[in-house]
Amino acid sequence: MPNRLYRSFQALLLLALFLFLMSKIFNNQLLWYINQRFVVLTQIGIVFLAILAQRLFTEVRLARERQKVEAHDHDHNHDHAPSPVNLWIMLIPLLIGILIPAKPLDSSAVSAKGLTTSSALISSDSTSRLFETESEQRNILDWVKLFYFEKDLNPFIGQQASVVGFVYRDESLPQGQFFVSRFILSCCAADGYAVGMIVDTPQADTFEKDTWIKVTGSVDAVSFDGKPSPLIHAETIEIVPQPDQPYLYP
């Protein structure tokens, strides 16, 4: 492949990557892939992609001018562009991003990545904060952490909880129960895994899996998988839109 053509394709690919990632920022989908803390870094990266693309476009233009000035036979000296395979492969993330409909991690990912009802997730010294928060302000992750770290769960039983998550059905749960679940991301979707609270409600069958719901009710402790796990005796369950930020961060 002639060198100038290679450069043009490079520039176009970088530009396409830039536009693709910009679109992810504008439709708020960047948070479906990475932890919030990387957003700024990614934005810097995206700007840099644009700078590189611009640099390559300039190079193409300069090369064209150079070619006009120089005799044509001089050309073969410059003509050893790297393998075009590089370009094809850079097309892959664009194709995957555009052709496969974007979706955050959901029920089908739980079966691959696992769900836990009690886990460490963060150094224990930060749980003291959780005592101070109103029980209704705690999210699913907070409850899961409390149930992991606290030896005595009695103070929490009967507290009012109000959490948002998606419906996940697990076959090991009895009739009339399902999980309200969230994915936890430390880094990116690769390390995501689900935490959940059991929801106990007579109308358990009416909710489709992956529906986003807000569950309100009193908390109870049950044993799931041999570990003490939080359960909500649901008083109200309302369907809510998927939050802008579908994951929780440890």
Partner: protein, 337 residues
Amino acid sequence: MTATTASRRASRTVIWFILLFVLIIVLASIVPWSLFLNLVSRLNLFATVFLGIFIEALPYLLFGTLISGLVEVFLDRELMARFISKRPVPAAITGALMGLVFPVCECGVIPLTRRLFHKGLPLPAGIAFLLAAPVFNPIVIFSTSAAFGWGPMLMWRVGLSLFIAIVVGLVFAVEQDPSNVLRPMLMSVHDHEHTHNETLSFGDKLQQALLICADEFFEMGRYLIIGAMLAAGLQTFIPQTSLLAIGSGQILSVLVMIALAVILSICSTVDAFVALSFVGTFSFGSILSFLVFGPMVDIKSTLMYLQVFHRKPVAYLILIPFLMSLLAGIAFNYFAP
């Protein structure tokens, strides 16, 4: 490459695409609908995980290639020769500590190391840098301490990584001729401008660094992409739960955590937070080996190594850290559970 082989290759590609298309259609008509839906949701999971790894690693790779470009145009060979000894032991130690100067993670360190080799960095120093820098740099030390506190986990992680890096660096000191280890660097277009590098202005040099950065981004990016695809594929089809289920026992638990480090392929700047989620389930030793081995070897970095080194050195780069972190993890499991 002549025109005929090129066109033959192109027509072969077209045939492959048609075959693939036919295969998809046939499969879609045979396979029951529910399995098909399952496959679609798997595909969604694959895409999300793949883009997750790719987007997260992208700025780090760009940063690494940018530094590499800057090193190429601004760093003198003489300057480097003055700072880094030719004798193996001091070279390996300086190399291992160089992460403090170049804060890069495992995606960025590979193009940078290659560039430094190109500038005449001795083998032991470069190898030690390659293995130690993803852990021994301010960003990673800070994130590890944020996850585990300034405690034994951080100390052992840093200490063990430096130790392994220096040992592997010294192993490579046996080889006198770097060309037996390093694959020749692809001479791309910018190299013909080398000769009058000295006369270039600062702005021109910067422009040239950007061009090198772009080339290297494409060259290394392809391994990041293939590696991320492999990792996402493995995660989609091997449930993590089944891996964790076999993860008990003094030796097996270490092996499972090492396997997980390879499959997850996450950046060393954040792997400490991921490791934290295994604290309840896994022992100190297994998590330590996850934190030590993960930054040195995973799917995407292995592919990038193959671009820089010959096959045999890559085998050493993987096997020695593997055995050492495995032994360390097992030792902790037995003696300090």
